[in-house]
Symmetry: C2
Subunit: 342 residues, 2 copies
DNA sequence: GAAATTTCATGAAACGTTTCACAATAAATG
DNA sequence: CATTTATTGTGAAACGTTTCATGAAATTTC
């Protein structure tokens, strides 16, 4: 005479175990309950194969144990790595990750932010580009790389130190004339500090440096022209290049190689991000590595923090340097690789 | 005397508009309502800045408009691309994507599958490795690359044709002795058809071929040995290599280059996946491109299909070939790139 | 113009939890 | 042993929707 149609509810469990509804709730939520009661309830849960209904749970408690993550996309290796690390960090705490790709679209970004108001998520972690996102003051919101104002914590790696480190590394490698390459959004975001850090590092090491910044509107082949101008016929105006991202570094490297130059023999190239595309510790180029694991951990920590007043406005996490070559020695380490090779 | 503490509910809207609760519900859900009523309700919604509570909605309707996507990780470019395309396809239909990285872990996979039973999602799209996942028969579930049995649609690219295409391409490029390289899981999954397709293609074009398959347990440097054996001192036992993934192709390429060989001048290398890491149409190596957009679209289509009986057991989607070099001509196209260069 | 029919707003019931005032039992106290 | 105190199970109320039987109003029909 049981209703077989739908999934069992707490009421069913209570009836089966011969206890009250509230008792089942306590057992399910790990609240203190008499030992014999607990056993009876757990047996009933097992027998009926009961699963809590998270809609009902959310309706009462206003918690979904899910966090929305806003990223422009997942194919950029840095974003992909962030998504992965955030998923891990959230999972460890029993939270689910709602991933939203915004495509740098301010409207999409705002739409996703609004989602939290429909109680779909308990908080938001966002790497966004809309400078005037409207966020409810009491909405748990944490940004990556973009400082949005007081009350909204921003987590970033120490971009300034990263720029400095790049300069020092190039100096250590014997470079004498270097350049910083960047495709610039004019946003006042944290990654912009890479430039000043690099500048400072060059000054400290008495390195000649040049800045090549292409504004948003400029075509990419501004860089091609730049490279042709300074490297044509092995001209080698620069012996070291610091590229604002690995993405750019990789492209520059390809172009230089197609011009007959060798990296790093002729030109040293250092990128930024250090997102491993193969999950095994190798990098496509030498790079300043962002600690995506620590960034993710911190973001999750902050977004789940109870006392909003204690949240710091800005958290900077230390970067490191990684060599990008694949030598036959390092190849040995690849056996532990887990990058989806079938 | 309004309660300012929490968000406005339908009841508040009804009171404000002077209509019944059910009328508000109809307006919110786009059901037929008298024009004057609709206007009044919409005004009230606007005024109160009302947002539906999706917990309550889910509790009644058993729908969350969210789909769980199971992938081993997001840093593998192919998975990253899939995640991105799935997000797009779901977004277009008003669905949210719950992304779950399973790390090839059968237990995690099963755990996420169970999630659907807690009513957290309306369906699951999974690229999984657990051969005996337990899925409720009536749970909308669609797999990528893994045929799990009748009733569970599998979406994949035409791996057989892809293998064939690789062989033909190598033949067209003038290769005479080629090899297929793979790190093998023994799973009977769709990607395994790449080998037989390649084999068939080689036979059709009278290409000498060799298969090098490393089992799961084998260390990666089995490949190093293989490469040393056949390419040491420009030996060039093979003039073309078909690698089962771009990942592997890229690694092989790096090793060969570190051995003093040039790609593609000395050895042609073709990978598989064609996941663009920079979102701009360029590839890290020549490759058989999987149509991740079509795969994603089909997965979403199938998982949201009302009539489960109409779902096909297996859907194969056409692959294509892409050249992997970055020439200065192609560099011009990079200006439209959107890969997160700051 | 009265009766039959259609249209559509109404509001109570239900969805499956959590919470909390209350009751019942057990333990501690003098 | 009676009384106070602490402990813990109980079950009704509430969360904010959707749904549907009800009835009022508008429309059509003869």
């Amino acid at each position: 005479m049981k209703k077989m149609s739908s999934a069992p509810t707490m009421k069913d469990v209570a009836r089966e175990a011969g206890v009250a509804l509230g008792t089942v709730s306590k057992v399910v939520n790990g609240l203190p309950v008499g030992e014999n009661y607990r056993i009876r309830v757990e047996a009933a849960i097992e027998k009926l194969d009961y699963q809590v209904n998270s809609y009902a749970q959310g309706l009462k408690s206003n918690r979904t144990y899910s966090i929305a993550v806003l990223l422009p996309n997942t194919f950029n290796p840095f974003f992909a790595d962030l998504a992965y690390q955030l998923n891990l960090a959230l999972q460890r705490r029993g939270y689910k990750m709602l991933l939203c790709c915004t495509g740098y679209n301010p409207t999409e970004e705002q739409e996703y932010i609004n989602m939290v108001r429909q109680n779909k998520v308990d908080g938001i972690i966002g790497l966004t580009y809309n400078p005037n996102l409207v966020v409810e003051p009491d909405t748990p919101y944490v940004t990556i790389d973009r400082y949005m104002g007081p009350g909204i914590p921003c987590v970033a790696s120490d971009n300034y130190a990263g720029g400095q480190m790049a300069a020092e590394k190039l100096a250590d490698l014997g470079c004498r004339k270097v350049a910083f390459l960047r495709i610039g959004s004019s946003l006042t975001n944290e990654p912009n500090k890479r430039r000043s850090g690099f500048e400072n590092g060059c000054l400290a090491r008495q390195l000649n440096y040049e800045m090549k910044i292409l504004d948003d509107g400029d075509p990419f082949d501004g860089f091609i022209d730049f490279l042709k101008e300074h490297f044509h016929n092995r001209k080698l105006d620069f012996d070291g290049l610091f590229c604002v991202t690995d993405n750019l570094a990789f492209q520059i490297m390809k172009v230089l190689e197609s011009m007959g130059l060798k990296v790093p023999e002729d030109v040293q190239i250092i990128g930024f991000d250090g997102a491993r595309m193969f999950g095994d510790g190798r990098y496509v180029c030498s790079t300043i590595v962002q600690p995506t694991d620590a960034i993710a951990e911190m973001c999750v920590e902050l977004v789940l923090m109870d006392n909003a007043a204690l949240r710091p406005p800005l958290v900077c996490l230390p970067v490191s340097y990684a060599y990008g070559g694949t030598t036959s020695e390092t190849a040995q380490e690849l056996q532990d690789a887990d990058g989806g090779i079938f």
